[in-house]
């Protein structure tokens, strides 16, 4: 890589006293049940998986396999019904709603399939959104803005700062989302079908950016349908019926369908 986006200085969990220090995130026998009226949908049925620092994982599986539920749990958008999820050394199931918000803000960067930018904001303002929700609610300083501009530059949007999302192409919007995901310097990047709405050329560019982020030390967990995308990850996890069906390195095509 000729340029770096922004290397992660030090894995945040490293050296912490508990034995989860070596991992960015761990799932221990995690169950997740949804109640739909009288029915109970068992979306996850005892998933255990570790994500070491600097991991790059692609989660695959047919729809209904539980991969979205898994991603929501990993993103601290939800709590497990039973089992433990340890993120940055903290047991997520014991945290309050406000704590979860803080964790999402500080430890996780989200990238969505449909970009999920805020339509009325400019590129710069969109990148700044996570800064508004920092613990302590500090004001956005000049350095903060500088950093946002720098990140926009790194994803190739230095000249689009005042544009609104509808003025950008899909690839450009996803770059804004990546810059936004990076603004609080999180350890984990969660990507939900990051290239699902993009053509193959743009897909390549976005995947290259993600690869670069991983090389700089960030843990990347990505849900995807496409094997071409999944193959870029260091390892692949196949979900089926709420359980991890298989785990492997490359050669996933045959197992998907």
């Amino acid at each position: 890589m000729s340029t770096t986006i922004e290397p992660l200085p030090q894995p945040s969990g490293a050296g912490s006293p508990d034995d989860h220090g070596g991992y960015a995130a761990r799932l221990l026998e995690v169950h997740k049940n949804y109640h739909l009226g009288e029915h109970v949908v068992r979306a996850l049925r005892g998933v255990s998986i570790d994500f070491p620092h600097g991991d790059y994982v692609a989660i695959m599986g047919s729809s209904g396999s539980g991969k979205s539920t898994l991603l929501n749990l990993l993103g601290a958008l939800d709590r497990p019904s039973s089992g433990e999820y340890i993120l940055g050394g903290q047991y997520v199931s014991q945290l309050t709603d406000d704590d979860l918000s803080a964790i999402r803000n500080q430890l996780i960067g989200f990238i969505f399939q449909s970009y999920n930018l805020i339509p009325q904001y400019t590129v710069l303002e969109n990148i700044q959104v996570p800064l508004n929700y920092r613990p302590g609610r500090r004001d956005i300083s000049a350095e903060d803005t500088e950093r946002c501009e720098f990140l926009a530059g790194q994803v190739g949007l230095a000249d689009r700062l005042d544009h609104r999302p509808f003025q950008l192409s899909g690839g450009q919007q996803q770059r804004v989302a990546i810059a936004r995901a990076l603004v609080n310097n999180p350890e984990i990047i969660l990507a939900d079908e990051p290239t699902g709405n993009l053509d193959s050329t743009t897909e390549g560019e976005i995947m290259q950016l993600l690869g670069q982020l991983n090389e700089e030390g960030r843990t990347i967990i990505m849900v995807t349908h496409e094997t071409s995308v999944a193959r870029r990850a260091k390892r692949q996890i196949i979900m089926k019926d709420g359980l991890i069906a298989s785990e492997g390195l490359f050669g996933v095509e045959t197992e998907v369908k």
Partner: protein
């Protein structure tokens, strides 16, 4: 601090996304606030008008007026054709001699009479009075002099005329020095008074006292030339009234003396007049207190009516904010995913609502400041197109024509504050429903 500023700025940005919608929503509050201010201004103006009229009677005055006693048949039963009632000159002397708090007293005799100068004539009110009358009623002279004590003692045939009389009888001439005819005698005009606003109605009459159609002559001249007896002849029958004095205006030194003096006046007149009920004691200070009470009632009633429109505006805001929240479900999900707490979401939508209602309130206040102008336009329209020309002279017409809305300055911050309060009250529910959404569901929302 700059964070708050930024929140407001971002709220504005979201509101500007739907300019028409935000504008229309705001309009509800604009009209609500405007009507509160306008209603209070009109109420304030009306009460100020009443206050001025009462003050024109003099806050330190106690006024005793003669009134026709209720017809209980006793007079007619005696076969007397002459109705004798009212204050007597002896009453005047009694009051002046027995009340130590008095600074001055003016006895007045009023007789409506036709007045002539050459071909011109006018129905005026002839007022027999003393030199103190001018001061006591806060009249001012436009030219010439008023009646003097010397005129009294000489029973001089002099008259001071009021502005309307002067305008009618002497449209192109200087009245001073000319002779006018009242009843059988002629009087030399020695002065003209300035026009003055009418004072509050006293003694049960509906209209206020109009000083502009008066002719003042010395009281003793009046006694001698015109007399106490006024005879009305009408189609074959005639009736006569004998009245010595129509009114005695008493003045005391300080406001504190007013009520005890009035009490003393009531007591001493009670003794001399028994239960003839042919006089009234009018205390402007009491009227003023009544006027103040009426003002408060006015303000409360008008303010409440206007407040209803504010509430309607608030409901409009709530409606729109609920729609906005549904529409922006996904944005809420995004923000939650990026680390917003529930309280952040509440703050965001509440800020938007408050900015909306607050700016509506601000515009409403600005409109409210224009109330006096708007009202004078309305008055022009009503006087020219709605009321008939003759109605303008009626008490109601005059009330309307003389009404000048006064902006109650306290109502501006209050109305603005209420608009902000409405933003909070009607914004909290939509904001909370936004904050309580499940982030995952919200993110999935199309």
């Amino acid at each position: 601090m700059s964070n708050t500023l930024r929140t407001v700025q971002l709220a504005l940005k979201s509101l500007m996304l739907h300019k028409l919608r935000s504008g229309l929503t705001m309009l509800g509050i604009v009209f609500g606030v405007y009507s509160v201010i306008a209603m209070l201004a009109i109420g304030e103006g009306a009460s100020l008008q009443a206050q001025q009229q009462v003050l024109a009677l003099g806050a330190t005055n106690v006024i005793v007026v003669s009134k026709k006693p209720p017809l209980d048949g006793s007079n007619n039963a005696n076969g007397a054709r002459v109705l004798q009632y009212g204050l007597l000159r002896s009453d005047y002397r009694l009051l002046v001699e027995t009340l130590p708090t008095l600074l001055g007293a003016v006895p007045i005799r009023e007789i409506p009479s036709e007045t002539r100068y050459l071909q011109k004539q006018l129905n005026a009110r002839v007022v027999g009075c003393t030199a103190d009358y001018l001061d006591m009623n806060r009249l001012q002279l436009a030219r010439g002099r008023f009646i003097t004590d010397q005129d009294q003692s000489q029973m001089a045939n002099v008259a001071v005329i009021a502005s309307d009389v002067a305008d009618t009888l002497f449209p192109f001439e200087d009245p001073v020095g000319k002779s006018i005819q009242v009843k059988e005698s002629r009087y030399k005009v020695v002065g003209v008074t300035r026009a003055r606003t009418a004072s509050a109605a006293i003694g049960g009459s509906l209209s206020g006292q109009d000083f502009n159609k008066d002719i003042y002559i010395p009281l003793r001249t009046c006694e001698v030339r015109i007399g106490d007896l006024v005879v009305n002849r009408s189609s074959g029958s005639f009736s006569a009234e004998q009245v010595e004095l129509n009114q005695i205006t008493l003045r005391v030194g300080s406001v504190d003396d007013v009520l005890p003096t009035a009490e003393a006046v009531r007591e001493s007149l009670e003794r001399t007049h028994r239960n003839k009920q042919d006089y009234d004691v009018v205390v402007p200070l009491e009227l003023l207190r009544q006027a103040n009470q009426i003002r408060q009632i006015f303000n409360i009633v008008l303010g409440s009516i206007a407040a209803i429109s504010l509430v309607v505006g608030g409901i409009g805001i709530m409606n729109i904010m609920l729609a906005t929240v549904t529409e922006r479900t996904r944005e809420i999900g995004i923000r939650r995913a990026l680390g917003a707490r529930q309280s952040d979401i509440i703050q965001q939508f509440l800020t938007e609502t408050i900015v909306l209602s607050g700016s509506g309130g601000l515009i409403g206040v600005l409109f409210g400041l224009l109330t006096p102008f708007a009202f004078s336009g309305l008055r022009w329209f009503v006087l020219n197109f709605v009321l008939e020309a003759s109605a303008t002279d009626s008490p109601t017409g005059r009330l309307f024509a003389d009404l000048h809305p006064q902006i109650a300055w306290w109502s501006l911050p209050v109305a603005f504050g209420i608009s902000v309060g409405i933003g909070i009250a009607f914004g909290i529910y939509p904001a909370r429903s936004a904050a309580r959404m499940d982030p995952i569901e919200a993110l999935r929302h199309e």
